[in-house]
């Protein structure tokens, strides 16, 4: 007995050349279907971010698929070109709005991107189109995981962010694998170089960046590294990807000092991803230090710790050490393995202007939010 899925799959293989006839193609040419516009206007469900002065720019919102609702209605679905415009509008226009808190922008864009993914799923877009839609979404989730990392749980939930991020990443990477296997690599690189020309005005597709982010967003997991190892030699030799691999291996070997040094070499989004991992790294490093420098009399100066573990300043270094039960003196910390409280909750780092991307005082990354969504790593 064969299940319907395999039947479908076999048919797919048979009719690989001719177009899928049972595919649903959306016919909605607006970012939001007319039905939903009317409904939301009447019910007063227009989001503040959809109001632009006198104008309204509504974007289809996410709604859970329920057993009694038919989602596969062409006039409610947006075709690829409209989806691209929608993602572009969300990331390049909405994120620039300053009149509402960043967490509100995040929630809004997150919801609308989810609706985009739903449209993609229902229409079963081919992998070549999926990657172009997913790549900017991944940037969005990585960037905001950093920007919002200090907010309380009620305003921003890192676990949900990670879930959406991983969903997009896995989809993106498996699409890339399918493309590779279909040996349409030439076409993709053609597409890539085409998009590179439009730098700073349009979204791009930077596979090397996403592959690197997949590694640095999952530093405690070996699977991204297994993936890296199985890449083609050409891809493995990409400097940015090699750097991400080096960071992961260095982290695996416990070399916290080198990881923190490599932080200076990474691109802005990789920095965002690593920054959310930094507390874990610091905690593990402090545990190692409290064993290795275990002594009742000797200390390590706090400024050395700042330097080693990428703390903002002496105060932060001392506060974090104290958080884990270590004895803090005037300008130094005394390490004693019996003091170290390994079961304390993970500390949080304050996100001051020096670490915030796009802020004026962060000289390393003077980068606008538009650039975050459009820069490419290959130069």
């Amino acid at each position: 007995m064969m299940s319907s899925y395999f039947d479908f799959f076999c048919k797919n293989i048979e009719s690989a050349e001719d177009q899928n006839t049972d595919q649903i193609v959306g016919t909605c040419n607006l970012m939001c279907p007319e039905d939903e516009i009317n409904l939301r206007e009447v019910e007063r469900l227009v989001h503040v971010l959809e109001v632009w002065g006198m104008e309204r720019k509504l974007v289809k919102s996410y709604s859970r698929s329920a057993a009694d609702s038919n989602m596969a209605v062409p006039h409610l679905l947006r075709p690829y070109a409209v989806l691209i415009n929608t993602v572009q509008f969300l990331l390049l226009e909405i994120t620039r709005r300053k009149d509402v808190p960043a967490s509100v922008v995040y929630d809004f864009v997150d919801d609308r991107l989810r609706a985009v993914r739903q449209d993609m799923t229902i229409q079963r877009l081919p992998p070549e189109q999926c990657v172009n839609l997913l790549e900017p979404m991944i940037r969005f989730y990585v960037y905001y995981s950093h920007k919002l990392s200090n907010l309380p749980l009620k305003d921003y939930d890192p676990a949900l962010n990670k879930k959406s991020l991983l969903e997009c990443m896995k989809w993106y990477l498996s699409s890339c694998d399918t493309i590779d296997e279909n040996k349409k690599l030439d076409e993709l690189s053609g597409l890539l170089s085409h998009l590179d020309l439009n730098r700073n005005t349009k979204l791009t597709n930077d596979r090397v960046l996403i592959e690197s982010l997949y590694i640095v967003c999952n530093l405690n997991d070996l699977h991204p590294l297994y993936r890296y190892v199985h890449h083609s030699k050409q891809l493995r030799r990409e400097p940015k990807l090699q750097l991400a691999y080096e960071i992961a291996i260095t982290n695996l070997q416990g070399n916290y000092i080198k990881v923190c040094r490599l932080l200076d070499k990474v691109c802005p989004l990789t920095y965002c991803a690593l920054f959310t991992y930094l507390p874990t790294l610091q905690r593990n490093a402090l545990e190692v230090l409290s064993h290795a420098y275990n002594n009742k009399r000797l200390t390590i100066p706090s400024e050395v710790l700042v330097h080693w573990l990428h703390f903002a300043d002496e105060f932060e270094a001392q506060a974090v050490c104290a958080h884990y039960g270590l004895k803090v003196e005037k300008h130094a910390v005394r390490f004693d393995k019996t003091d170290f409280a390994g079961d304390s909750t993970l500390h949080q780092l304050k996100l001051d202007d020096n670490k915030k991307l796009g802020s004026q005082s962060n000289q390393k990354f003077e980068i606008s939010i538009i650039d975050i969504f459009t820069y490419t790593t290959s130069k």
Binding site: F9, E181, V229, G254, N255, H291
Partner: protein
């Protein structure tokens, strides 16, 4: 009885007789894709279904039909079709087994059709690259249906229970999951076997296969002690003439043993044609980090294909330990300057490592228990224990 030349009717009658007399092993051969009767073109009439249907007891007729249709598709080199028929065949065998209460003589038949299913699925997979593991995944689902029938048979006596067939199926499934790289699916299978009361009664050959895969899984999950245990069992019990299998096991056992501090002898590597490891062994022993990088580059493809590339990366830590031990022996003191370690790293090609990073490497070795002692930041010295400053690695795990 010549099955190679007989007619379709003779074949059906013979299959039915074996079925009625509960001769599992012969029945299995009669429905195998790897038996001589497959060469008999008489069995491949143009209208197999109508000729067989009703001609023998159900569900045996369904099994025969699917089997012969599968053979036919294989002759036509249509592997997708062959897969569909073989998968239907397994489905019918599942129903047959479900109907057979309190007996397990049907197990050999199940083993055969399941093994054939995997082989056909592999063929189909190789011919349709766009499938990307989907066919094998489907095959695994079929095998799981068999597995459920076996695992649920807990009313029969210990001698007659189909639960004795579990390990054979688990091995098939492990092979599939490793091939399509879905290792997370192995966990429930391993749990089912480990908690089975028949754990140690399964045939030795099956146990060896099982432990080979479980060992590799443990290695993948960085649980090196278990990996060592499983793989060592597999290696010691594997038949001495199965050189290819022994070599396969060693490919994983050697790096695991090395991580645990046991270095292989050259003649062993020579015997099993695994000299790729020898350069690595000497580099790790000498703390030659540049040498490790060189070996990794040279044998990159071998290490990647075997899935041990990342383990080799981890061996660098062992190399650091060996290098620092040499420094300690040469200095012959219990207070060693960090600068000495740093100089040694420089000699080994690690030019960019400064005093801070050297301390960091030492700190990790102390934390892991590979060096007994402490670091003094103020004096830039490592103070090591007067006794057993560098305990043997093999004593640590």
């Amino acid at each position: 009885m010549s099955l190679v030349t007989g007619t379709l009717n003779q074949y059906i009658q013979f299959v039915e007789r074996m079925f009625r007399t509960s001769q599992g092993n012969i029945l299995a051969r009669l429905l195998s894709l790897r038996d001589d009767h497959v060469a008999n073109r008489n069995l491949l009439s143009s209208d197999i279904a109508t000729l067989v249907e009703g001609n023998c007891v159900a569900p045996l007729d369904e099994i025969i039909i699917s089997h012969l249709l599968c053979v036919k598709s294989l002759y036509m080199k249509d592997f997708i079709d062959a897969y569909a028929h073989q998968s239907a065949c397994v489905g019918s065998v599942v129903r047959l087994l479900q109907a057979q209460k309190e007996v397990n003589w049907g197990l050999p038949l199940m083993y055969t059709v399941c093994l054939d299913l995997r082989l056909v699925a592999q063929k189909a997979e190789a011919r349709t690259p766009q499938s990307n593991g989907k066919i094998l995944e489907k095959a695994a689902e079929c095998l799981l249906a068999c597995f459920r029938v076996c695992a649920a048979d807990n009313r029969s006596s210990d001698a007659d229970t189909k639960r004795l067939g579990m390990l054979n199926l688990v091995n098939q499934l492990l092979k599939v999951y490793f091939r399509i790289n879905k290792l997370h699916l192995c966990k429930p299978l391993i749990r089912a076997i480990d908690s089975s009361p028949f754990k140690d009664q399964f045939p030795l050959a099956q146990q060896i296969t099982y432990r080979y895969f479980v060992g590799r899984k443990a290695m993948f999950d960085s649980d090196y002690r278990s990996a060592d245990e499983y793989l060592a069992f597999a290696f010691q019990n594997c038949h001495r003439n199965s050189l290819r299998n022994k070599r396969l096991i060693l490919t994983y056992l050697v790096p695991v043993k090395m991580l645990l501090g046991f270095m292989p002898a050259k003649h062993l590597l020579q015997k099993y044609d695994l000299l790729q490891f020898w350069d690595l062994v000497s580099a790790v022993k000498n703390g030659d980090l540049r040498g490790i990088d060189k070996v990794m580059e040279e044998h990159e493809n071998f290490f990647i294909r075997a899935g041990i590339y990342l383990i080799v990366e981890k061996l660098k830590i062992t190399a650091y330990r060996n290098l620092f031990r040499k420094v300690y022996l040469a200095e012959n003191t219990h207070q060693i300057d960090i600068a000495c370690f740093q100089a040694a790293l420089k000699v080994m090609g690690q030019d960019d490592v400064d005093s801070d990073e050297t301390q960091c490497i030492v700190a990790n070795l102390i934390f892991d228990g590979k060096i007994k002692g402490y670091i003094s930041y103020q004096h830039k010295k490592v103070v090591v224990s007067k006794q057993n400053a560098f305990p043997p690695l093999s004593s640590l795990y």
